[in-house]
Amino acid sequence: MSLGSGGLRVAEYAKARARRASLLRDEDFLLLLEQTSVGGIALQLGKSAYASVLRGHTLESMRRSELEFLLNVSILAEGVAFRHYAGLGDKKLLNLWLENFDIDILKEHFQTHVRSHVQTHIPAQTGSSEWGDYLDPGKMLNLVSDFRLTLIDQEKLSSSATLRDVLMSVKDESLRTALMEPLREWENSQTTEGRVFQRVAFSLGMVLDRHYLDSLYTAAAKLGGDEGRMMRMLVGTRVDLMNLYWIYRGRRFFGMSPEESLTSIMKARYRLDFGLLTRAAFADPRGMGAVLAGTPYERIFDVEGAENGSLYEVELERNIYKFLFAVAERVFLSGTPGFQNVGAYLVLKELEVRDLVAVVEMVRYKFAKDRIGLILVRTLRKEN
């Protein structure tokens, strides 16, 4: 490592640590939960580290979707800010990391185009975000001036008239080919049936998610030393958890057979090998925890609301994110300068935004606040 890149690494590490100190505290969350409107939450966040993305907006009357969009943009802004500190290799990794925003934009375009083919209203299933109306690259570029789409050709995307045009805006040829396959299925079917729509949207979303995590894990696997180990842990844990969750989701909600559910997972593997994933796929979806005994993930399926159907998935997702939170914290505390700190910080930020979105929805739809513990990734110390 050259002296220059060593300096950049330290600066990157210092920035990640400094930014971590700006994350919200439990007291801030409790204050947000006391608010009675989305505007109230926006006003409170306007006094925090989110002030920079909220500046220039009318906070008092802010809509839920707009606030959620801006909160998500804040993750991107934080990520982009690390570019100035990143050397060439780290910049590539960072760009790869931030490709999930390209993917969100693509997914939103898929939804819009597919929806326009469907006569009846179909609830969004895959990759749909409630803040989709705002997911316009132009708007993002206005808010985060240094942001550039790396996966998509923005000009082609903006002039896209059909779903095929959207896919043609993807720069990576192998990804484009993979995306074309579900599209061909859609085009051949020539139907506006909701079922077909769901299948296409689901497949396109899965191809993108698989591509994103596979590429990120492959890049992380190439790193050496502590940095490589930590990055593999950070990304690999997510890979494992997503593989498990996709098998669960496929089996439980999409009526997939165990074998079929195994075709939906990534090629990247961290701690769960194919044998273990196969056993998980063949187990009862809600009994997958038993298969995972002895692995770090054995408690993921320990869900209190197991008897209550609607809460089971909420708690399961929370457990997954809690696990990711713990891993990110662990990576952070390792104290070795390297890109893993940026990654860990971005994970923590992403999970904080997830919690904030949960709080916003809780306040907006007047959910019982005593159940907040079931949803939030962070454990509020004063919640009781």
């Binding site: 080919t177 997939m256 165990p258 079929e260 075709t263 090629k267 194919f274 196969t278």
Partner: protein, 644 residues
């Protein structure tokens, strides 16, 4: 040699006539449209102003581009049309649909044949595999045929299927696997139990496997290898003919297609310009900026092509004073124009600012030549620049600047009598930096004084243009500051050159003290004399900023000593290289080492010292010169053009 004066121009009239004007503007390439929001800013009629969404001709043009691509035709260069084509959008859509429908049919058939060909190829491979076991395809029982599927899928999906096959009661094997990338196709054969048929279909669907038609009747028809090969050849021949269809069609109808392309292209360009305006009560409005001198020509065209349209022009300077942000268009002599990049690298001048490019061009060459004056090194720099440009390692803009800088290096080399740092080869035409240090130092300071004076004059010009009279007369970079600077320079010069001149001569001291007080109390004086002009900084800050400006006069002037210092440095460094060469010359093989040292040393001087001098030159431009007057922040004039 200045920022070109602009005019704000608006065209209001019937749609057809505005389209005629739009065509003329596209030809002239000197009109930058304004966005409709700016046009109708807070106007009472803005609610009735309708803007155009999307350009319907974009999609048509894309379809034609696709046709061109499929037909293998070279990119079509549309000539500028004389008048707006009369064809309507539905007419053009119908024509293009007719063409694209044909192309789509051929494409579909080509794809169908490709799959057909792949199927036969797969069966050939399957037959070969069976024959290798000593059996034939006719031996296969029909029950077997019902439990076999052959199809293609991407390599990535093949990996997924293969993994799933480990957990499912199926046997999946590759028949043909030729590519390398994840997107390449693999042809596979899958065996399964007939009870598992429903389940396997789901797996095939989730890995997006294209299934060849089922062979319920058995595989006997593929048993004869020659017959299969013959069939494949026939399919390939048919496929080939379909693949050539778009090209043949395009060749047969090239005139009609070229005309169609030209029409759609013209419509697309005209619409895209009109799109920047909007409709107001059945009238189309188009507004934007153009160079003031071009307005007459546009008015004449409008009178001829759009007799019912209203053409309004407003003076750019007046609009700028009203708070509009005008684009900047620089106009300079061809050689000077290359130095616009140096100015642009710092920032483009804003519309109301003076364009410093000419001074930058002259001073850049002068400074570079002064610091790097050497016939040999200058020539090597020119050659090196040519080489880097040829290898595409240097852009043409910087390349031409470097070439000019190299030429001045050669010129100063003759003035200094220096060739590769050797001052003995040719006699100096002016002076030798190493031998005439006492002469070269005052010259460099003198250049600095002149340069800073120009900077302050530019600042005065800028502030006069903006009518900021307080700044003009009382600021340290105004008239008061300039007089103070020149008096200080005169004082310093007199001390060194006039015997017995006392530093504190009463007259000079009194005038300088007066000017200094004028700068300190400039804000108050400006308010008193020019009414209403306010300065937002506080009194204490202002006093400190005046002191800072005074110190800057000293430091900025002293900074030009570097001109002489680098000229000396150049000779010194070259001398050191020669000395090193001489040290090894008498050793065994010394001549070779000496040559290597000289070559390497001079390369380092050209590369490293050349770069440092380049940076020092930029520093003198950007810090010492621009710091006196330049704000920048201008926006490039971006006119619409016929070519997309």
């Amino acid at each position: 040699m200045a920022v070109v004066g602009m005019a704000g121009v608006s065209f209001i009239g019937p749609r057809e006539e505005i389209e005629n004007i739009a065509l003329a503007l596209l030809k002239m390439e000197n009109f930058e449209p304004m966005s409709p929001e700016v046009i109708m800013d807070a106007h009472p009629l803005s609610s009735r102003f309708q803007t155009f969404r999307g350009n319907p001709y974009d999609a048509l043009l894309e379809k034609l581009d696709e046709l061109w691509l499929k037909a293998g035709l070279p990119v079509f260069q549309c000539r500028i049309v004389d008048r707006v084509p009369s064809a309507s959008l539905p007419e053009l859509e119908a024509k293009i649909d007719q063409v694209t429908k044909k192309i789509e049919e051929w494409s579909a058939r080509t794809e169908e044949l490709r799959r057909e060909y792949e199927r036969w190829r797969a069966m050939l491979a399957f037959g070969d595999a069976i024959r290798e076991t000593g059996r034939s395809l006719t031996d296969l029982p029909s029950a077997f045929c019902e439990s076999v599927t052959i199809g293609t899928l991407t390599r990535e999906n093949w990996r997924r299927l293969r993994e799933a096959s480990l957990a499912a009661p199926i046997l999946a094997m590759p028949l043909m696997d030729e590519g390398r990338s994840e997107a390449d196709k693999v042809t596979v054969i899958v065996f399964y139990n007939s009870d598992y048929r429903e389940e396997i279909q789901k797996i095939f669907s989730s890995v997006h496997m294209y299934l060849f038609p089922a062979e319920g009747v058995g595989y006997g028809q593929y048993d004869k290898r020659d017959a299969v090969s013959y069939r494949m050849e026939a399919i390939e021949a048919e496929r080939e003919s379909y693949r050539d269809m778009p090209g043949r069609y395009a060749a047969e109808n090239r005139f009609e297609l070229a005309k169609l392309y030209e029409t759609v292209y013209a419509k697309q360009r005209i619409f895209s310009l009109c799109q920047m305006g909007g409709d107001l009560s059945e009238m189309t409005v188009l507004a934007g900026w153009m160079p003031r001198k071009s307005f007459g020509e546009v008015r004449a065209i409008a009178e001829e092509k759009a007799p019912h349209a209203l053409v309004i022009s407003e003076d750019g300077d007046a609009l700028e004073r009203e708070g509009n942000e005008l684009p900047t268009l620089l106009h300079n002599l061809p050689l000077v124009r290359r130095f616009q990049e140096i100015v642009r690298l710092y920032s483009l001048p804003s519309y109301s600012e003076i364009d410093p490019t000419f001074v930058v061009a002259v001073s850049f060459c002068l400074f570079f030549g002064f610091m790097f004056g050497d016939v040999g090194h200058g020539a090597a720099l020119i050659l090196g620049t040519y080489f880097l440009e040829k290898k595409k390692m240097m852009g043409p803009a910087i390349g031409s600047v470097m070439r000019i800088a190299g030429s001045f290096s050669v010129l100063f080399g003759f003035l200094y009598g220096s060739v590769f740092g050797n001052e003995e080869l040719i006699p100096p035409m002016w002076l030798s930096p190493m031998h005439d240090v006492n002469e070269i130092l005052p010259v460099s300071i003198g250049i600095g004084i002149l340069f800073l004076t120009i900077g302050i004059c530019f600042k005065i010009w800028n502030t006069v243009h903006k009518r900021e009279w307080g700044e003009v007369f009382f600021s340290p970079e105004g008239v008061a500051g300039l007089l103070f600077y020149w008096l200080a320079v005169g004082q310093a010069a007199a001390v060194f050159t006039v015997p017995g001149w006392a530093l504190g001569t009463v007259f000079f001291a009194a005038v300088m003290a007066f000017l200094f007080m004028l700068m300190i109390f400039g804000n108050g004086a400006a308010k008193l004399l020019f009414h209403g002009e306010t300065v937002d900084e506080g009194g204490v800050v202002h006093v400190f900023s005046v002191f800072h400006a005074m110190l800057n006069f000293v430091s900025n002037t002293a900074s030009f000593v570097r001109l002489a210092a680098f000229a000396l440095n150049h000779v010194g460094l070259s001398g050191a290289v020669f000395m090193l060469g001489q040290m090894v010359e008498n050793a065994p093989g010394g001549k070779l080492y000496c040559a290597l040292i000289l070559l390497l040393g001079h390369l380092i001087i050209i590369g490293l010292e050349g770069m440092i001098v380049f940076i020092q030159t930029l520093r003198l431009e950007y810090y010492e010169f621009f710091g006196k007057f330049y704000r920048g922040g201008g926006r490039d004039f971006a006119p619409v053009a016929w070519k997309k």
